[in-house]
Amino acid sequence: MTTTLEAKDFKGEVHPDWCPGCGDFGVLNVLQRALAESGLQQHEVAVISGIGCSSNLPGFINTYGMHTLHGRSLPNAQGFKLAHHDMKVIAVGGDGDGYGIGVGHLIHAMRRNIDMTDIVMNNSIYGLTTGQTSPTSGEGMKTKSTPFGNPELPLNPISMALGSGASFVARAFSGNPKQAVEIYKAAIAHKGFALVDTFSPCVTFNKVNTAQFYRENTYDLAAEGHDASDLQAAFKVATEDTYASGRIATGIFYQNTRPCYEETEKDTLATPICDHELGITADRAEELKARFK
């Protein structure tokens, strides 16, 4: 019989090496609570990351997982999930990992719709490499690589996700754990690919998008009666309420119930392929060879 776990049961053996006050502590706590409240056991979960400050998270949580390459959390996580789809797979990483070097994988993962969750800890800065502009850094933002101001527009992860066929698109803020836990639980429960852009402020290198900034500039979509089944409404909010407008939406932007990838390969994935017997039977071998005669 399995017991219901608490957040502390998901605490890893290694203490996080993040800077004191880093938003990633909040994300770790929220994720541990969400896993516990989703009724999951430690061995039923794999948390898979790329490279970056936030990608160290799998080392600090008591589940299975992988700590892979910069930008490659999603292909590793999708391979893992297809191999063992009874497990809950959660990809984690930063905005450089998810929206910069790994953005190609993200777009295709969203349209592919494998049943997993992707948490992007978005701090609009490259922290581990000590403070360069990131894909979500605001226009004009001064960083070590843009001392005269960032000349590029920031990427809008929410409208990109909506345009890429994502079946679940949400945004959380590490400084609002109550809302974040509910969003993470909904993402984990969602049958399909769930993207949760999560503001996770960098206290060391980003003096613009601080915790204070997000507390002052975010609002809860649910409180304003947003209909998460309405794609057009989601696009409207995603494109109108941005950094520039000073009014940033959090919550679930959009969710639909289209079949996840695993449901399109029902025969092959009737049981996890990692449990399948390996090899070809003698009878089947003859059939396979017959095609070449």
Partner: protein, 595 residues
């Protein structure tokens, strides 16, 4: 030479049906128990490029597609000037008289027999309706089958099978056109070429890519992710056809980065996973192959070599990627194996999956354009010989205390518990790590205990390179033929067959050469390899490249230097004759090695 044989060639524009004509002919021979080796020469164009296919057919195993064809089918007006000069004196050329003018082709040579088939007048005369000019390929197939005196009932059956979905009328029409070509040849062609007789035991007729895919399936492949790239795509195409029946997840993904990383993710979760790509695509996978080395995750990648650097020569032959397969950042354990022919590709693919799991490493199967795309007959593939060996692996964790994924062991291989097992949670980490998999490279980097851990963990991983050899799992090169010859040809991968053909041709002239062949190219068992090398008096390497990649690797791994080379890097595979000619050039500098 591979016994008495006949060489045939089929040439035309891409889209003329060269491949299907070749397939009908090849399968007809294969079913009759004849041996075939077919080489496709094609350009990277969907339509409009000039393509040809050459086939050696004989009662014995064919090692070479040959040089001078004796029976030739020419489809388009580019064909005569390209191919007629190659035809063996006294050979037979059938051509499409609707696209090739009699005066243009028959003036090229007077020692070759030309037969133009006038498709339109022949079908009109026979009263056939509903025909299309493209069906000339069926007519010319009939001519070829008849000229070789093959059993016409076999191609007629293929035609039936191919067109039966379109109804009896279409089947009847195509069979009638085939018979027109065959009957016309029977009545009008007087010259006889060598007509090989099969033993009646049907063989398998397949490409290296198909054999590789079949070998992966036999070896327990459960997930295959890939990004299309010639000449590796044939593996994806084959596996896609059996994905549902054999319950293999086949994913075409967004790029090669995704393909290899997906394999690593799936391998971590405990399935046998593989990908394949060509040389340039593999460049994008290098980082993820290192990841598999670091995480100690089984992963298999077929690297199909083509001319480089960069995009290079996409649909042509080259063997210049040994260095690429060994390369990556840092020292990283792996195994590189180069199958010599399609039959070998089947067994090596299954072996690669075993080696990957047994040693928890990436395994690279180094193929090449010729091996991957050419068809040949195989007597049989014995699935019974394929055993699944998973090494130190379990789906549950019942050990004492906290599970150490990277526990230090004498052989460098730690017990692998499949994720999902209760109580054994671990996180494989691309950073340097300790026995539990905890990161040692961030805040702890440089501290004395982290330095010690780095030394031990890196040594543990690299220990596997020694263990593979000491366990006897890595084969030394094979030395075939008389040990007392003056000269040895040294080859690897698909050059095996051509060198063997050359050795046979030289033997007919009384020149004895033996054959040292490498299948396992990294690591090499140093002592056993040196012992083989030292048995040879004068070694001449035969490689389909410019810069002698095997020789470089032999030098690096054994300190033995090979200084005489036969190379070819114009994009074509060797032929026996080519090697013989090159050998005579270099041999002329010294005394010919007559024993």
């Amino acid at each position: 030479m591979s016994g008495k044989n006949v060489i045939v060639r089929i040439a035309g524009a891409a889209g003329d049906g060269i491949a299907s004509t070749g397939e009908i002919l090849g399968k007809t021979c294969s079913r009759m128990g004849l041996n075939v080796m077919a080489y496709n020469s094609f350009q990277s164009a969907i339509r409009g490029g000039h393509v040809w296919l050459q086939m050696a057919i004989g009662a014995e195993k064919q090692l070479c597609h040959g040089e001078e064809p004796e029976v030739v089918l020419l489809f388009n007006k580019t064909s005569p000037s390209v191919h007629v000069p190659d035809v063996k004196s006294g050979g037979i050329v059938f051509y499409n008289a609707a696209t090739i003018k009699k005066e243009d082709i028959e003036s090229i040579r007077d020692d070759v027999n030309f037969y133009g088939l006038d498709f339109k007048s022949m079908v009109d005369e026979a009263g056939l309706t509903g025909v299309s000019p493209i069906m000339i390929n069926t007519m010319l197939s009939g001519a070829m089958v008849q000229a070789l005196d093959l059993d016409t009932s076999i191609p007629l059956e293929f035609i039936k099978h191919k067109f039966q979905k379109k109804g009896d009328q279409v089947v009847d029409l195509n069979q009638a056109i085939f018979n027109l070509g065959a009957d016309w040849t029977k009545n009008n062609v007087n010259e006889h070429v060598f007509q090989p007789k099969g033993d009646g035991k049907a063989k398998l007729f397949m490409t290296g890519n198909e054999a590789m895919g079949l070998g992966l399936a036999a070896g327990g492949l459960k997930l295959y992710s890939a990004y299309p790239m010639s000449p590796a795509t044939g593996i994806l195409h084959y596996l896609a056809t059996i994905a549902q029946t054999d319950k293999i997840v086949i994913k075409q993904v967004e790029d090669e980065l995704a393909a290899m990383n997906m394999v690593v993710g799936a391998g971590t979760a405990g399935v046998r996973a593989a990908t394949a790509t060509a040389s340039g695509g593999y460049c994008l996978m290098v980082e993820a192959v290192g990841l598999a080395s670091m995480l100690e995750v089984p992963a298999v990648c077929v690297v199909v070599s083509r001319g480089g650097p960069s995009t290079g020569v996409p649909t042509k032959q080259e063997q210049s990627d040994i260095d690429l397969c060994i390369a990556g950042n840092g020292d990283s354990p792996r195994f590189v194996v180069a199958p010599k022919d399609p039959e070998d590709a089947f067994y090596q693919a299954a072996r690669a999956l075993n080696m990957a799991e047994k040693y928890q490493i990436p395994v690279l199967i180094l193929s090449d354009f010729f091996l991957s795309e050419h068809f040949e007959t195989i007597d049989d593939l014995d699935f019974g010989k394929v055993e699944i060996e998973r090494g130190k692996f379990s789906t549950e964790w019942e050990g004492e205390g906290r599970y150490k994924r990277y526990e230090y062991t004498e052989d460098g291989v730690s017990h692998r518990v499949r994720p999902g097992a209760k109580g054994a949670q671990y996180v494989p980490c691309s950073d340097e790590h300790n026995e539990f998999g905890h990161v040692m490279s961030d805040v702890e980097a440089g501290l004395p205990h982290a330095r010690e851990e780095r030394v031990k963990m890196h040594a543990k991983r690299m220990k596997k390179m020694e263990t593979m050899v000491s366990n006897g799992d890595i084969e030394a090169p094979t030395l075939e033929g008389d040990e007392n010859t003056e000269t040895t040809f040294m080859t690897w991968g698909s050059s095996y067959s051509y060198a063997k053909e050359a050795i046979n041709l030289l033997a007919e002239e009384g020149i004895k050469v033996n054959h040292l062949h490498f299948t396992d190219v990294y690591p090499m068992p140093k002592e056993a390899t040196l012992a083989q090398l030292k048995k040879c008096k004068r070694i001449v390497s035969v490689e389909n490249n410019m810069c002698n990649s095997l020789c470089r690797e032999v030098l690096a791994q054994t300190a033995f230097e090979v200084t005489e080379h036969i190379n070819r890097w114009d994009g074509e595979p060797f032929t026996g004759e080519y090697i013989v000619n090159e050998f005579k050039k270099i041999a002329a500098k010294k005394e010919l090695a007559k024993v």
